[in-house]
Amino acid sequence: MPDHRLELQDIIRDLFDDDEIQVTEKTMASDIRGWDSLNNVKLMVKIEKKFAIRFGAGEIVSLKNVGELLRLIEAKTRR
């Protein structure tokens, strides 16, 4: 199974311009400075572009942490 976590970590490091950011399954938006709702929208658009997937209107709202986001990405890329 391809390791999307590392790719996601790259995207997040890029977006927040910080090469030190460590992204684990437990990471939440509140852990990273600047990860507000607008940057969340930006992040989702970048993820969609990178993995060639589309998030539905309600899918992101309930995600609690990076782990759940990764699960969603994996489900969509598997199709």
Binding site: D14, S37, L38, V41, V45, A57
Partner: protein
């Protein structure tokens, strides 16, 4: 781009990083632009202040989300010469900020207030009844708001107009119903434009969104997720258009457009092709494109942009199409300054700046030749150099997209400016930028291939022999069979040079033919020496001379003899042999004769690497 900036920052090369950042425009990739915005924060304040000293304060009051594109406005404004400090009101509170006399806004003391709006800020619903009343109410709401903003905060106001929707619930009837949403939006825009209070300007988002395509401009998903009225893809274009308006407000619009002539205002080279040979006018696609471009330039001139010319040509040749070509749109009287000579263009731009008495930072340079553009860009960083596309059909869009000449109004003085400033095609006495020119040549990474006449190049050689007029010492024409016969002679010397530089292959650009004198078997007579003017003063002349001397060495020749036969078109090369170190000798007939002792060292050098 991103990696280039990153590596400069890591190395602490802030000035270089800033130069790269400031080269970015709205057409660059979004990731590069986003990174550039972040990278700006890493540039030390003094470096930024030194590069862009003009500071101004922009207040952005949004009826939609502004945070995504504000960094882009800062970036593009910097590029245009304005260092902006930006205040953003809380989401959606664009009216409250003004009517409640916001303390924060007052404390900020803006130099300009921008209202970022979208059609969703208009309360028109579908299928309007009493459309005219709703229209008046909305138009008044915004006009009063803009007037109050300008008066209360004593500054100009820049307000978005409203983009029409792409959905049409009325279908085909939409455009015919006065009360449809789109009809009301259009009427609102028209009303606003006609009734603007003093110091209030409209930013035409309707035109911008149409140009880029409403389907690309508006992203429902993004609007629903983040209330952003503009897609990520189009935000750079919005930001750049806004920064053009801001630049003009703060006096940073460009004033002068400097144009090349050959292959910029017409197809071909006037000095070689003559009036009948250049492409200009109806009938051929290239000719049409150049006419269209001239019309656009003329329109700029008519509203006050100064038009100047910097061209590598003899002066008479430069003016010839203006005076005699029936399809020329631009006239001599449209040109305020013309420098036509064989000097490097950065030198000529300084001349023009002195003649017109305006700063180089108000210049825009438009030239089809990437090598010229590179020279100007590297030696005159204040000048804006456009990335001119290869296809002349795209010239107008290139110039128009850049939006460099925005004005706040057009006055009678603007309309007459060109006539007032019209000067002679004169050369100025200027400091030579000799060392930077040598550096420039060295970094062109030129390589050359030198070959005698071969089956593979004979056609092109023959073509050059017959069409080159300016850099041509003897103007001797030959047919292909004559060339073949010449090359077959055991005592003949033939060479042709192909030049490549970092911008690409220039093709075959020079031809030298000689023959050992049958009477004195130790002298080589040069019968033909010609070169394309496009590569003048790049060192090819010296390279070709080196090749001649190498041949002489191999055959044990003592001297090289050259003739110059003057014509109406080749005054350019009357000192060619002298500049290579030849001695003048007496000769019969027309023109001049020259001689060179083979064992004399050539005093000049070049930076071209010879391949093969």
């Amino acid at each position: 781009m991103k990696e280039a900036i990153k590596s400069r920052l890591r190395a602490g090369a802030h000035e270089e990083a800033l130069s790269l950042i400031l080269r970015m425009g709205p057409a660059n990739a979004i990731e590069d632009l986003e990174y550039a915005c972040k990278a700006l924060a890493r540039i030390p304040a003094e470096v930024l202040a030194g590069r862009v000293p003009l500071r101004r304060k922009l207040a952005v009051l949004g009826g939609a989300t502004t945070q995504f594109f504000v960094p882009l406005i800062r970036l593009f404004a910097l590029r245009r010469g304005v260092h902006l400090e930006v205040y953003e009101s809380d989401f959606g509170l664009y009216e409250q900020e003004i009517w409640s006399d916001s303390q924060a806004l007052r404390a900020f003391a803006p130099d300009v207030i921008h209202f970022h709006l979208c059609s969703r800020n208009l309360s028109f619903s579908y299928n309007e009844i009493a459309a005219a009343d709703r229209l008046d109410a909305e138009v008044s709401r915004f006009l009063r708001l803009y007037r109050a903003a300008g008066e209360r905060f004593s500054c100009p106001v820049l307000a978005d107009n409203f983009e029409t929707d792409f959905e049409r619930p009325n279908g085909g009837l939409d455009v015919m119903l006065a009360g449809s949403r789109n009809s009301l939006i259009r009427a609102t825009n028209a009303n606003l434009a006609r009734n603007l209070p003093a110091r209030v300007l409209l930013h035409d988002v309707e035109a911008l969104s149409s140009k880029h395509g409403k389907l690309r401009w508006f992203d429902w998903r993004l609007y629903n997720a983040a209330k952003s009225a503009i897609s990520f893809e189009c935000q750079p274009y919005y930001a750049d258009s806004l920064s053009a308006a801001l630049a003009s407000l703060f006096g940073k619009s460009k004033k002068c457009l400097v144009l090349d002539l050959d292959n910029t205002l017409w197809g071909g080279v006037i000095g070689d092709d003559g009036l009948g040979g250049i492409q200009l006018g109806a009938g051929q696609p290239a000719g049409e494109a150049f006419v269209a471009f001239q019309h656009y330039v003329k329109a700029l001139k008519d509203r006050g942009v100064i038009i100047a010319i910097a061209s590598k040509n003899e002066v008479e040749n430069a003016w010839l199409p203006f005076r005699e070509h029936p399809d020329m749109v631009l006239k001599e009287t449209d040109i305020s300054s013309c420098v036509a000579n064989w000097e490097p263009k950065n030198v000529n731009l300084r001349t023009i700046a002195k003649q017109l008495n305006i700063g180089l930072d108000s210049f825009v340079f438009f030239d089809d030749n990437p090598a010229e553009r590179d020279l100007v860009r590297s030696s005159l960083p204040e000048v804006t150099v456009l990335d001119v596309p290869e296809d002349p059909s795209l010239f107008v869009q290139c110039l128009d997209d850049a939006q460099l000449f925005d004005a706040l109004s057009i006055t009678e003085e603007d309309r007459r400016r060109g006539d007032y400033l019209q000067g002679n095609a004169a050369r100025g006495q200027l400091e030579q930028t000799a060392s930077s020119y040598d550096d420039y040549l060295a970094q062109l990474s030129m390589t050359a291939v030198v070959e005698p006449v071969l089956d593979t190049n004979i056609a092109r050689i023959t073509q050059l022999i017959n069409k080159t007029n300016q850099f041509n010492l003897t103007t001797r024409r030959m047919t292909e069979s004559e060339v073949r016969a010449f090359a077959a002679d055991a005592n003949a010397y033939t060479s042709s040079t192909r030049l490549t530089d970092k911008f690409g292959d220039n093709g075959l650009i020079s031809v030298v033919f000689g023959r050992i004198d049958p009477a004195d078997r130790e002298i080589l007579d040069l019968e033909l020496w010609l070169m394309s003017c496009r590569v003048l003063k790049r060192g090819v002349e010296i390279l070709d001379m080196e090749q001649v001397l190498a041949f002489c060495g191999k055959r044990g020749l003592r001297q090289v003899r050259g003739r110059y036969f003057p014509t109406a078109k080749n005054r350019l090369v009357e000192n060619h042999y002298s500049s290579l170190g030849f001695r003048r000798i007496d000769a019969d007939g027309e023109g001049t004769a020259w001689i060179y002792d083979v064992d004399t060292r050539l005093p000049l050098s070049h930076t071209i690497a010879i391949l093969g």
